[in-house]
Structures are given as C-alpha cells and as structure tokens.
C-alpha cells in the first residue's frame, strides 16, 4: 500500500513539474518587438506613415516615432498590448488606439508595421520576422587553451584566478 502511495506521489510530482515547465515555456517566452512607422506598400496599395506616433506599454512611454522611425519593446508571453497615439498629419487631432497582437511563438524578433496594422491588413502584411544584420561581424575565437585548462605538456586546469565570486 505504502509503495503504491509513494509511487503516486512521485508521479504526481513529476507531472506537476512538467506542467509548470510547460507553463513557463508559454509564459516566459521572450520576444523583442520592433514597431515601424514606415510607409508600407502592399498589394499595390500604399499605406503612408503617420506624422508622429507615440507608443505606450503598460502606461510607460517607450518610443516617440516620426516618419521612417523604429521603436523597440520587449515582451514575455504570446500576447502583446500597446497603446498608440497617432498624429496622422501635422496639425491633426491625435487618436489613440489600443493594439493587442498575438505573437508567433517561434519568432524572436518581430517587426510590426504600424500603418499596415492600422489599415486593418492581414497579419502577413504587417508582421515580419526581424533579421539582425550585425551578427556576422562579430568574431569570437574558440576557447583557447587557457580557457580549457592545460598548459604545455602537463595537464593543468583553469589557471586563472577568479577575481569575483
């Protein structure tokens, strides 16, 4: 009886842990969102950029975009909400929209084209994955012998002194 109970407890623990892990996958998935205030051409139509767009996330102003500018925000989870205050042309009355966007899980960096979104286009029109340009320029050497312990001939491990622990 006792072993049956403990087996049950164990299985429950494992299942609970797996469930938590699964939840963390969804809740904790981080995305970087880039918001573009750029004129979009799609299907032969032109959606022109706003004169000025102010973006708030959780009541905090994160960007003030003029034409052809890009703002950035980070977000955990698959749903991203922001408030956008748009001034379409100079002198226009600012309009405020609340935008909630479902984010695709597999994309790390997501570019949202604001004019496209506001015009109510389909998702594939305004939502594109972010492609970093700067990744290839960086070169880091493979860990050298020093990093991997060992000095000439003898097997000395990590010779450096840790300066901080």
């Amino acid at each position: 009886m006792k072993s049956k109970r403990s087996l049950l407890i164990r299985i429950t623990t494992v299942v609970v842990l797996l469930l938590i892990a699964g939840a963390m996958f969804i809740v904790g998935r981080g995305h970087t969102i880039y918001i573009d205030n750029k004129t979009l051409e799609y299907d032969g139509q032109t959606y022109s950029a706003a004169h000025r767009a102010e973006i708030f996330v959780n009541g905090e102003k994160i960007a003030k975009l003029s034409k052809r500018e890009r703002g950035m925000a980070t977000c955990m989870g698959q749903s991203f909400t922001m408030e956008v205050t748009i001034t379409q042309d100079k002198g226009d009355e600012p309009k405020t929209y609340t935008i909630t966007q479902q984010l695709p899980y597999s994309m790390d960096g997501i570019v949202i084209n604001l004019p496209g979104y506001l015009a109510g286009l389909s998702e594939e029109a305004y939502l594109t994955p972010f492609v970093s340009m700067a990744t290839t320029t960086e070169d880091e050497e493979a860990p050298t012998e020093d990093d991997l312990m060992m000095d000439e001939g003898m097997g000395a491990e990590d010779l450096s002194i840790p300066s901080d622990i």
């Binding site: 842990l17 938590i20 892990a21 939840a23 963390m24 996958f25 809740v27 904790g28 998935r29 981080g30 995305h31 980070t74 955990m76 790390d108 990744t135 960086e138 070169d139 880091e140 493979a142 860990p143 990093d147 991997l148 312990m149 491990e157 990590d158 450096s160 002194i161 840790p162 300066s163 622990i165």
Partner: protein, 381 residues
C-alpha cells in the same frame, strides 16, 4: 562516552575560553583577519554591507547544498560542482529557447533536476565504491565530469544537440561561446520584492528562497530518511545492523545535494547575469567549501548557522583582501593571491583538524577496547 567525564568536570573561565577558541579557531582567525583588513582597505561600512548582502544572496543557497552529505558522513561534497554544471546546461538551453525572467529561472531549475539527479546517482554510486575516501574521490569526480561537460558543451551542442541562436554558439558552428549572456533574466529574482534600506538593496525574494531551503533542511533532518542518514553518518555498520539500506541512503544524500547545488548555481548565475561557460563552475565548489569551513563547520558537523557566519566572514575577507593587500604592498595581485591562499589554507587546516580528531578518537576507542578485553580475560580467570 569516554569523553563524558571531561565534560562534566568543573571548568574555570580561562579553560572555557581556551576551549571555545580551540573549537572555533577558524572563525576567530577570520574575524581577526577581517578586523585588520577592513580599516586598511578603507571601504565604507555601507559599501561593505551592501556587498555582503549581495554575495549572501548569491552564494548561500549553493553552500546549503553541502550540508546533507556532511550529515550522512560523506564529508565535504566536492561533487557539488556536478550540480553546478547541470544548472549551467539548463541555463544554456533556457537562454537558447529565449525564456526570460522568472519563468526562465523556474524552467531552468526544473530542467536541471534530471541532469542533477543523473549526475548525483553516478556520483553516489562511485562514492559507495570508495568508502573511507569519499572526499578525494568526489574531488576527482568533479574533474572527470568537467571533462564530459566540456565534451558536451564544446563539441556536441550545436552539432548533435540543437542550439538555435548563433549568439551563444561559437562562430565555427558548434560549441558554446565562452560567455553566455543572461541579460534577460539578470537579477530578476533579486529585484522582485527587493527593498532598499539606507542604500543597501536587500533581495527579499532571494532570501525567502534561501529561508525555504533552510526550512527544507531542518524538516528533512526530522524525517525518517534524515534520521537514517544521521545514523549512517555516525556508524555505517551499526546503521546496517539496524536495517538501514546504507548504500541507498548515501546515494540519496548525494542526489539531494547535487539537485540543490544545481538550483544554487542558477540563483548564483541569475545574479551574475552571465555564464562563463568553461570556468563558472570550476572553482565554485572550492569557494563554497571554504566559506562553510570558515563559518566553523568541520568535515563531520555543519549547521545552518555555520553557513551564514561563513558566507559573511569569507566574503568580507574576499572583498577587503585585494584592497588591503594593495595598500600594504603596493601590488593589487598580492591580495588576490592572498585570498586564494586563505581559501585553500582554511580547507587544509579544517581537513587536518578533522583527521587528527578522528585518529585521536580511534586510538581512544582502541584503548577502551583493550581495557575491556583485559577485564573480560580477568573475569574468565
């Protein structure tokens, strides 16, 4: 038993004082070192306090992981490095999957469990084959597994084990970079619920987690398994006669220690904000053990109080030594070497004291046995 008469004897204050000094020589020595070095270093008290609070939050959990094997009589678990490696592997995965913040930390902890358990089982099995020299064996195991860790992280990750992001991969296409950034979960646990008192940031959540670990250890001591462990630690043969599965108990103690060390390493690294893939874990075991010993623990006895005293004193020394060394000798490296020397020295002294004590007890026991034998022979006559 044979030492009882000495304890009950009346002691004058001087004897008591020398007895106290002898039993706590290491902490006293450290208090002296700190007392000398602090004024010389010229750090302000508030700076020292905030540094110590940070380091306490960072290291305490790791050190707590050492307590259970000591209870089971397996000495200082140099194999806690194994847990640290498991934690690092989990964090590498989590940062590759881009899980951020506290969910990332929790996920890393959950992922580290199977690795830790596996390594702990292996370590426990090996240590059972080397009874009587657990420490040196666990010490070598940590190097051995470090080799396997490098094999996995440097050669298999990215080639056999999928790693998506090139930002943590080496440019050659496989292997993990020397440092993996944890920017997105940096100090996320420390900052949540943190309170500020006089410029000193106190990471409440971290301390709550540490308190939880302390409670777990206190509770664990009282369970059946904990009692068994203590019995095994006192005398393996007696425990076996009492029907305790000695081998299994010892393995469990190492597994728990490894799992806790894995959690501790994740907490440690979320505070640091990046992983030094090939060196973060290599010295961690040594420093944790040194800190525990500085707190007045010995190879066969350690309490939670030792952990906290040890963290405070050891890290106080760690902070002030380089500066004090630089002020005295004009060379900053002296202090750096000094603290390394002290760390090793403390471990050496503690090990020597433990072994001499053990030998003394053994010879006392031998004398007692001989006496008993003589008595028996007399009775037979």
């Amino acid at each position: 038993m044979s030492t009882k008469p000495i304890n009950t004897k009346e002691k004058n204050p001087l004897q008591k004082a020398t007895g106290f000094l002898r039993n706590n020589s290491v902490p006293v020595m450290f208090i002296l070192i700190c007392a000398v070095c602090i004024p010389i270093s010229g750090f302000s008290p508030s700076y020292l306090l905030s540094e110590i609070v940070t380091r306490m939050g960072r290291n305490t959990f790791l050190i707590l992981s050492l307590l259970i094997p000591i209870m089971a009589g397996m000495g200082l678990n140099f194999g806690m490095t194994l847990g640290a490696m498991a934690g690092e592997i989990a964090l590498i995965f989590v940062s590759d999957w881009q899980i951020w913040g506290i969910p990332g930390v929790i996920l890393a902890m959950i992922i580290s469990i199977p690795f830790s358990v596996l390594l702990g089982l292996l370590c426990g099995k090996i240590l059972n084959m080397a009874k009587g020299r657990e420490m040196v064996t666990s010490y070598i195991i940590s190097y051995f597994i470090n080799g396997i860790y490098q094999l996995i992280v440097l050669y298999m990750m990215g080639s056999l084990i999928p790693i998506i992001h090139s930002s943590i991969k080496l440019p050659r296409g496989y292997g993990i970079r020397n440092t993996v950034s944890l920017l997105n979960m940096r100090q996320c646990i420390d900052n949540l619920l943190a309170i500020n008192i006089g410029g000193v940031k106190i990471p409440m959540l971290t301390f709550i987690i540490i308190a939880g670990a302390c409670l777990f250890i206190i509770w664990f001591r009282k369970t059946k398994l904990g009692q068994d462990m203590r019995a095994v630690g006192q005398d393996m043969q007696v425990a076996r006669d009492a029907g305790i599965n000695v081998e299994r108990t010892r393995i469990i103690s190492i597994v728990i220690s490894t799992v806790l060390a894995g959690f501790g390493m994740i907490l440690y690294l979320q505070n640091m904000g990046n992983i030094s893939t090939y060196s973060s874990h290599s010295q961690i075991g040594m420093f944790c053990i040194a800190a525990l010993l500085v707190g007045g623990a010995s190879v066969d006895k350690a309490s939670i109080g030792n952990v906290f005293l040890g963290v405070t004193l050891f890290h106080l020394m760690f902070i002030v030594a380089p500066q004090a060394g630089a002020k005295i000798t004009g060379d900053s490296m002296i202090g750096e070497y000094f603290r390394v020397f002290v760390s090793y020295g403390v471990i050496t002294v503690a090990l020597v004291m433990y072994e001499t004590k053990k030998r003394k007890a053994k010879s006392l026991l031998g004398a007692q046995l001989r006496l008993d034998q003589l008595k028996e022979e007399d009775e037979v006559k």
